[in-house]
Symmetry: C2
Subunit: 326 residues, 2 copies
């Protein structure tokens, strides 16, 4: 498939073209990277149209069931809506891990004509995973998906990472976490725009109600920019609480759009992504290009020999290849 | 205090000089950064001599009590030993947070003549916090501290960050975490070199024994490079399990030194630090230097206008300022 066909296919919403495009941006081959760059640049004008929702939660919280139920709810709620689900899982820094590996976890969504599910590529450096995820999201937007779930497990750096690539961050919580755990989650709670206490059904219903109150109290300790973070009881299994989540989500987005915060956040996100990429790219080029390789290796050797602190070596190297004064 | 006096003071183990040096590397003023660079370069030959131990655990696990008890144990165990404790807390990305802010949490260590405690600077970007922590560790090593604890809370990206700057990573776990939480911690368990189930006393003793078995089973799912990660029961409150932790720690370090893994890990760490710094530095210079500022702002504008994907913009910008072909 040549680039033009691929690009047209993605724009027309063809699932196969989108899958191929994502495979291209995930590739580490130099030739593929050039193609991926051209594809992205061609598709950029068609991006930016989706509402990107981060969904996080630890294993056991019922995340797959929630995504299946909430996704189906949204697709039924508006029959023109198209939903893409992307999983991002850099949480296992050593051996890599893949969530959403088994599409059958989402029986209904995986066969729905207006849904597209992409498992986590897994493995690799956080920078690489993050780039692939962000570029995949751009392609999904160009493919006409107006709602994108970015799923991540609630651990490690994954939540911070996903929060930095979505418009709204929804956090699923267990109904029966102890008090001690609430404290630990303070830093994470700050990332959440909406909290769903899931599994609020059967024997856990009362615990969920207590957890809601505990969360609301814990959130009082977190400085809020607008109104307090909403905490909603859900039972993905019984399909309960889903319209409430959607209403809270829409209300938030509407408030942010009015105040300008929505667009500001998006601007900040792309600029930060750009800045992070500068680092990745300088490194790749410095290590490989004949003109810089020698000096790079020299500085690297000084770092290894503990002659220079890495921070000092980096500053000196950059200044010397850019010919700027010390 | 001029740089020579400062440098000599640190080398002679003067606490005031070390504190001043760390304040210097923490400073964001350009003039201070130049001094900090000179100080670091002068002290580099005196670094590398400490065993750096990461200590992580969520609030409620008894981390302060553990550090106080384990630190005191080590100082009594060897009367020539000098211990420095540094806290790293980038876990609260929005508002910053400081752990170890209250030295009185560690009554014995805070007044011990052979101990030095430095709270987290808190706030700022993870890159900045990480650099300050790494540079502070270098100064502590130059100050003759042969054992360094790097404390972090068990949440967010902080554990991965701290694991990347220490020789051994010790993780404190609660005795009464549910099964569900064990799963969530898989990615984190991989980071742990030793696990201490703390609070293994009083009414929690039995739960701790169960937790030990659960951890050992969970660890079986994590591919181990050497022997399985040791799990030790401790009661910091009753000063129990501390020699066992120390023995496991020493055994690990000895094995790694024999196999070459210890030095390899240190090499990898400084090289990765160097690579990360390249990104931070290129960004700082590109955004501020007159020769590059214009082009940088141009690319940034294209990113903001969604004309270029941030990854593509970064690659193109770097290639053009380095004059390397497309």
């Amino acid at each position: 498939m040549d680039l033009n066909t691929l690009q047209e296919g993605i724009r027309q919403g063809q699932v196969r073209a989108l899958a191929k495009g994502i495979t291209l941006v995930e590739s580490t081959l130099a030739a593929d990277q050039k193609k991926a760059e051209a594809l992205l640049t061609a598709l950029m004008p068609s991006t930016g149209g989706a509402l990107k929702i981060g969904i996080s939660g630890i294993p056991g919280v019922g995340k797959s069931t929630f995504i299946e139920a909430f996704g189906s709810f949204l697709l039924n709620d508006d029959t023109s809506r198209r939903l893409a689900v992307l999983a991002v899982d850099p949480s296992s820094p050593i051996h890599g891990g893949a969530i959403l590996g088994d599409k059958t976890r989402m029986e209904e969504l995986s066969v729905h004509p207006r849904a597209f599910i992409r498992p986590s590529p897994g493995g690799g450096a956080a920078g690489g995973i993050s780039r692939r995820a962000r570029e995949s999201i751009l392609l999904m937007e160009a493919g006409g998906y107006d709602t994108i779930f970015v799923e991540t497990i609630g651990v490690g750096q994954s939540e911070t990472l996903v929060a930095s690539m979505v418009d709204v961050f929804l956090m699923l919580q267990m109904p029966n976490m102890g008090d001690e755990l609430q404290g630990m989650k303070k830093g994470i709670l700050e990332l959440a725009d909406i909290i769903a206490i899931n599994k609020a059904d059967g024997s856990l219903k009362e615990a969920a109600q207590r957890a809601k109150i505990e969360h609301e109290q814990a959130l009082k300790l977190v400085p809020a920019e607008d109104k307090p973070t909403p905490v909603v009881l859900t039972s993905a299994k019984n399909k309960e609480g889903l319209p409430e989540i959607w209403n809270e989500l829409r209300a938030l987005v509407e408030t942010w759009k009015k105040s300008g915060r929505f667009e500001q956040k998006r601007q900040d996100q792309v600029v930060q992504w750009f800045e992070r990429e500068l680092g990745e790219q300088i490194q790749a080029i410095a290590a490989e290009h004949p003109a810089y390789q020698g000096l790079f290796k020299e500085f690297e050797a000084k770092v290894r020999a503990r002659e220079l602190a890495p921070s000092v070596a980096a500053r000196t190297f950059i200044k010397s290849i850019l010919n700027v004064g010390q």
